[in-house]
Structures are given as structure tokens and as C-alpha cells.
Symmetry: C2
DNA sequence: TGCTGTGGTTACGGAAAGGGTACCGCCATG
DNA sequence: CATGGCGGTACCCTTTCCGTAACCACAGCA
């Protein structure tokens, strides 16, 4: 395999692990930007067990502000991770649920969560050692 | 399972998927901050096939600035994902390699990359539909 | 007559991330 | 002598993220 920079139709393409990565339109970075926000992945995990209403989410995650809750839900809805259903009750209730896409994302997300829990101590240790030397 | 907010020793703890999440010291968010940067995960992937030197990485990822390359490598080294070895040649050459921790992270990372590649079209489609309605 | 809950939107501002440019010492090459 | 590669550092700027606070309509309840 040639691990060098390639040029395909004028695009900047990087070969990584044998897979061409289009830097100008990178799917991985696109997804990472979506779920890399402060609350996005936690929101998906919170909805893993079933739909929840706006105020239920607010009580479930007390640290999030109303503004960020709205924005996070909008972003995830926009990218297709979850659906928003309004029930015309009085007062109107809004239910958020994972879509098929959102549920499929739980697989890599949970693996990532497990890795984080297992290796967090090692990371903190490495960080402390690095800071001690510097 | 009780999906409610709990209070353990004054810490803010959220139950999610049956796992208690300490919001003030969350391992997942800590790891996410590390590898959620613009270049961090690409850097780890670039080193998956073997060690590379500073200038090799610069040529491999042409879009990164020298400043960001240095900063990304420092961050990943600090958290223990990669090692930095200086060879006293003339001029001195510096080699970056994944540590055991870094290699173990390739497992969830590659799953995430695969998911992104598979579902990027669905996300773009959902986004376009959302924007069309709004 | 206020107060609470539901589901938000908007304005404002600080902090952090990201990036451009210039510059450094050292050495080899032309 | 000048240029280029190596592996960075310092300074400054722009953009994005995120939080606080205020405000909205509507209904129920005291």
C-alpha cells in the first residue's frame, strides 16, 4: 500500500489505513462534528431506553440549560438521529425518540463509552506523568 | 431500572443505560474532548500502520498547519495515545508511534469510522429534508 | 390574581478552539 | 553565499461553543 497523498479530480485525498479520506468532504469529521458537542452523545444515550419528553430530559440531565437542550435536540433531529412528535394535548407535549439511524449509532457509541470507562485511569495517569516532567 | 437523577456524596450523577454517569468528572466526555478535536482522530489513524516522523505526517496530511500538527501531537502524547522519540541524528529526527493505549483505541475508532462511512448519505439526506421544511 | 408547568426563542458575552504568519537554530546542498 | 529541510515556538486574530438571563403563549390551580 502506498501511504502517500493522492490527487483525485483535484480533491485533496489522504490515504489512511488503506481507505481514501476526502479531506474537503470527510464523512468521519462530519459525524464527529455532530456528536462531538458537549451534550449530543449523552442525549442519544439518554434516549436509548425509550422516548422521553422535553421536560423529562431536562430533569434527567439537570446540568443542561434549556437553551442547550433545545439546540442539541434540534441538531440531532436535523441529522436524523431522533424524531420529534408533538401531541396536541393541553398543554402540548413533545416526545423525542431515537430513529433507526440513532439506534444503529448506539453500537459504536457504546463501544466508545466502554473504552472510555476502561481506559480513563490510564489516560489520567499518562497526563499526570507528562505534566510532572514538563 | 430507575432512570432518575441520583445524588451520591453531593456529586451530580445521571443514570443512563443503567450506568451512573458522574457529570462533574465524566470519563466519556474527557476522552471525547481529547479525540474530538479537528485532527486528533485522523492523526491516530495515520499512525495505525506504523511510526511516522514529523515531516512525514505533514506531507501525509497536507491540510494541517505546522502549528496544529505540533499541538495535536503534544495533546495525544500527553494523554498517552502516542510516544515521541528523538533520534540524535543530524538534523535530529523525531518519530511518533502509537502506544499500547493508542492501538487499543483503534478498535472503537475504526468502528466509528465504518459507521460514519456507511451512514453519511443517510445523514446528509435527513439534513437536506430538515432544511427543506424549515 | 398571581404562581407553576410545558416547550420553547432571543439577546448578550465570555471562553475556548482553530488557524495564519513570522521567526528560531542547525545543517546540507547547490 | 543563499536556499531549503527539520522540528518546532510566539503572537495575534477569527470563529465557534456554551451559558445566563429574559421573554413568550397558554392552561390549571390556589
Amino acid at each position: 500500500m502506498n501511504r502517500a497523498t493522492g490527487a483525485v479530480k483535484g480533491k485533496r485525498v489522504v490515504m489512511v489505513c488503506g481507505v481514501p479520506m476526502d479531506m474537503a468532504n470527510c464523512p468521519v469529521r462530519d459525524v464527529m462534528d455532530n456528536i462531538g458537542g458537549k451534550w449530543n452523545s449523552l442525549m442519544i444515550l439518554s434516549l436509548a431506553d425509550g422516548p422521553l419528553r422535553f421536560s423529562e430530559l431536562r430533569r434527567l440531565i439537570p446540568d443542561i440549560s434549556q437553551r442547550m437542550l433545545t439546540q442539541t435536540l434540534r441538531d440531532l433531529q436535523r441529522d436524523g438521529y431522533l424524531s420529534r412528535t408533538v401531541y396536541p394535548t393541553q398543554p402540548p407535549s413533545v416526545e423525542y425518540a431515537l430513529t433507526e439511524l440513532g439506534r444503529s449509532f448506539l453500537v459504536p457509541l457504546k463501544l466508545f463509552v466502554d473504552w472510555s470507562l476502561q481506559n480513563h485511569d490510564a489516560i489520567r495517569k499518562a497526563r499526570a506523568e507528562y505534566d510532572a516532567v514538563a
